[in-house]
Structure formats: C-alpha cells, structure tokens
C-alpha cells in the first residue's frame, strides 16, 4: 500500500528517537526526516520513493526498532540499483512502558558517490523482518537537487509522516600523529595550523588559537618545564567563494559581507561574514570585469581551519535605459451597455490623473486633457492606439481615469481608475 507522506500524522515517538531527531542542516541541502511504522505479518518491505523532483538522496541515519520478543530476521538495506548498505549492530532498548526493542541503526555507505544514494522512481528499500510488529523509527535524509514528495509503503499497513528537520553529519575525529617533540625552553613557539603539543605533564597552558599554537606565557616556564610531544592533526579545510556579481554602470554595489558560499564546515562551526571588495563597486566604475576580493572570514570555530579564498567576478555592464515605448491600449473593447449591446460609435475618454514626467526621455506628459478614442459599430476602439504605461511616469502613483460615452454623448461607464 503506497501512502503519500502525511504531514498531519503525529509519529509514534520513542525516547531513543530524540537523539536521532537532533539533526542539523547542512548548507546546500534540504534536510528532511521521515518517520513511520509498519506491521508486517510475514515480511516487511519499506520503500522510499522519489517524487517529481527526484535527485540524489543522502540517507544519513535510518534506524528502526522491532519488538525483540518477536522473531525478526536480519534486515537488508538496498536501493533500486541493487546496492546494499551496512547496518550497525543491534542494541536493545526498553521504552518507558517497559517494552523491549531491538534498535539497529543504519547508515548509507555508497561506494560510487560517497554519502549519496541516487533516488529514482524505483525507490529505496528496507526489506526483511519475519514477525510483527516491526517499527521503523526515523530516517533522516537530504534531497540534493530540489525538494520532492516522498511516499513509502510496506507490505501490509503503514503510517508515517515527514517534515523538515535538520541533519548532523558527525565529523570523523582526526587522528593525531606524533611528529616529534618540543622542549619548553622559555621561547614562545608557534606551530603551523594543525600542529599541537601534548598536555603531559599537565599545565594550564596557553595554547594559542587562531590557527597557530604556541606556549606563550614564559613566566610559567618553570612550572611547565618538560618535553612535550608534538602532534600533527589533520588540518580541516574550508574554501570560501566570493559570489559573482553583476551591476549596471552608474549604480553602486555595496557589499554586506555575506555574498559568499563556502564548503561545509563541521557541525557548530559557521561563517558569518567576510571582507569583500571589488573595484567594480563604485558607481563610476567603467564597464568591464573586476575581481571580487574576499578575505578575513569571521564566524565561529574557524581557527581550526585552513581557509582558502576564491575570488569572484563583478561584471559591470552598460544597461539599456528603461523602455520608453508606448504600449498597446489594454482595453480595446468591445464596449457594451448593461444589456450586452455594443456601444455603437461611442467614445472612450482617457485622462492621466495628474501631469507627469517620463524621465527616460525627458517627456512632459499632459494630465489636463482628455484623449478621445473612437468606437466603431461593434463598440471596438478604432485603430490600435498606444498609451504611456504608468510605470514609466514620475511622480509615482499616477493612474488613468477612463470614461465611456454613447454616440449621443451620454456617460455610460466610469469614471474608472485604470493603471496601465
């Protein structure tokens, strides 16, 4: 039975699900979380199907629980391409009602495109489970290219819900490597990024942050005297790209420091702003291409990164002036009376509510006179008159007043406010 994701259903929440729900979003992806439960009688088949905007799916943390009193065979995780994925060890959990569950976590481990599962219309499957009830807990995923509607099904009955969530990618803890020793000899020693010293013997050290480490407080040398092991930690890297910009000659572009994108950081780390400049920013910068210079990222947790900055490009163009063209009169008719009969040989009066200026060509547009449009025998305006659209005119807020007269001069419609 296939079900569309139902946002209105409250998922069965088990305490252990709380940790699984503690996700944090990752830039560039739309994080979702799906929960559901199935009650298989002899087998269980849980599938996630892509919607109309199918893209790469990153299954980060699926976990399910089964009633451990049931006989449940090992579950298999696979995708439509036949890839299978690793499952974590089974753990047992007792909920607040005293029910015992077998908890097993599952992570996607994709060999061809690390971390990503290509979701196609054939879906993604979790199969197995020989005895009821089987409960599928949570499955957090991210759609890489656009949002999609997810549906899922099991072999018998199911219910589920899906909604926005955030996803944490737990970083791999760097493994330090011993690269030598450092003698504290009273000289402040700076280390390159990624290098640190051991904390033995213990001391309340002053390890510099900001990408360099050193022993700075020489007054404590006696207390800290000793030989320290120097470690080389894997240096984290982040690349910050200045966004490309375009602007018209004669206009100023003011950077606010957020016009950048960056490669993912570790959870909890973020970049709030950078210093971004370009010689193309001033209004009088001639047409052409200018580098967008970016530097000095500010944020949280950045001192452990080696930051690379990639320039962008600002393109300054000579932009055409706004159109000064008249536009077709939008109400050509036919004009009819309340009984539906055409206003034969009548007239349409159109008047600008006040005098205006058309600054794109320094036109003065008169507002005191009525322009008369003649109707034919079918109540249709003769010819194809054109008119000045209001969005060309200054002051702002102008509009037209339209009135329709019969052949004998009787006002039959209007005045009507009309913005063109």
């Amino acid at each position: 039975m296939a079900l569309n994701v139902n946002f209105g259903i409250t998922p069965n929440t088990l305490p252990w699900m709380a940790s699984a729900m503690a996700f944090k979003s990752v830039d560039g992806y739309i994080a979702k979380i799906i929960t559901g439960q199935g009650y298989g009688t002899s087998s269980f088949n849980f599938s996630i199907f892509g919607g109309p905007n199918v893209g790469d799916l990153l299954v980060l943390n699926c976990q399910y629980a089964v009633d451990s009193t049931s006989t449940t065979g090992p579950l298999t995780f696979s995708d439509s391409a036949g890839n299978t994925y690793n499952a974590g060890p089974q753990e047992f959990y007792t909920d607040i009602n005293g029910n015992t569950y077998s908890l097993q976590q599952f992570w996607s481990l994709i060999t061809t495109s690390p971390g990503y599962l290509t979701l196609d219309s054939s879906g993604f499957y979790i199969t197995g489970g020989t005895e009821p009830p089987l409960f599928l807990g949570t499955c957090a995923y991210e759609i890489y290219t656009g949002d999609t509607v997810i549906s899922f099904e099991d072999s018998n009955s199911s219910q589920g819900t899906s909604g926005d969530a955030s996803v944490v990618i737990n970083p791999v803890s760097p493994t330090p490597t011993v690269i030598g020793a450092c003698l504290v000899d009273g000289l402040a020693t700076a280390f390159p990024p990624g290098v640190s010293i051991s904390y033995e013997p213990p001391f309340t050290g002053y390890l510099y942050s900001g990408g360099a480490y050193g022993i700075g407080d020489t007054t404590q040398i006696a207390a800290w005297a000793g030989v320290y092991i120097v470690y080389s930690n894997p240096v984290l890297g982040v690349t910050i790209y200045a966004d490309d910009q375009t602007k018209c000659f004669g206009t100023e572009f003011i950077f606010n420091g957020t016009e950048f994108t960056n490669t993912p950081l570790q959870p909890g780390d973020y970049i709030t702003s950078c210093t971004i400049t370009s010689d193309g920013s001033p209004a009088d910068a001639p047409a052409g291409s200018y580098p967008v210079i970016i530097s000095d990222a500010v944020g949280h947790g950045l001192d452990k990164y080696e930051i690379g900055y990639i320039e962008g490009t600002m393109t300054v163009s000579i932009c055409p002036p706004p159109s000064c063209q008249l536009v077709d009169f939008p109400l050509p008719g036919p004009y009819t009376d309340p009984s539906g009969q055409p206003i034969t040989n009548g007239t349409v009066s159109i008047r600008l509510v006040f005098d205006c200026n058309c600054p794109c060509a320094d036109y003065q547009i008169t507002g005191n006179n009525h322009s008369i449009l003649q109707l034919d025998g079918d109540g249709i305006i003769i010819g194809s008159p054109q008119i000045r659209p209001n969005n060309q005119l200054k002051p702002d807020g102008s509009y037209y007043i339209l009135q329709v007269y019969t052949e004998s001069g009787q006002l039959i419609y209007g005045p009507r406010k009309l913005v063109i």
Partner: protein, 132 residues
Amino acid sequence: MFSQVQLIGGNFQDVLGTPVTNGTLRLVLSQSESADGYWYENLSPYTTEEVANGYEIEIPLDTDGNIVVSPPYLVYANNALQPVNSYYLVYCYDENGQLVWGPNCQNVFSSVSPLTDIFDVGQWVPNRIVEI
C-alpha cells in the same frame, strides 16, 4: 553663473504620444516676500538687478511640443535670485489656448559645474521643486 538661462526641450505630449503642437509655455515667477521683489545676481560680470514680483514670460512650443530654440528664450535662474527658494508657476497651453499641463511649481537652475546656461524643461518632475 550666466546672466540668464535658455530653456529648451519639453516634449510636451498627451498620454497617447501626440505632441502639444504649437502650444505655449507660460512661466510666472513666484511672489517674493520682499516688497522689492527678487534681486538677481549676475556674476559675469558681477551686477545686481531687481526682478519684479510676478515676472512672467510666454514661450512658444514647436510642432514636436518642444520649446522653440530660435530665437532663444531666457529666464532668470531660481538659484541666482534673492531671497532664495523662488520657483516658477508653469502653464502649458495647446494651440487652441486650452490648458493641458499645469499649473505646476518648477525650478529653473543655472549651473557652474557643469558650466551651462541651458536648462531642459523635459527633466521637470511636475510640482517637484528643490529648496536652494
């Protein structure tokens, strides 16, 4: 600043783009609070002359709704008059004498940077005057 400013342009037309052919532009200097009227400062060479209250000029438009350029029509620039914050009340009439634009309060300025003694009335935004 120049002695007086030549007015040009306008492109007076109706909403359908039909020019105000052979119309007339009429400018009336706003009333000064001074009994003497306005004092006009001409910097080339420096002289001072009085401009009467209610100074008024009529300027013909050509077939395109633009101010006739020959002969040139000159008016006192508002930024060369004392007391400050003067303006013109401007009327535009069609060739039948019907008022089609205005009266609107407008400024006429002379400029030393860039140096010019020509003012294009096409740049007027109706009833937008600038404090000097």
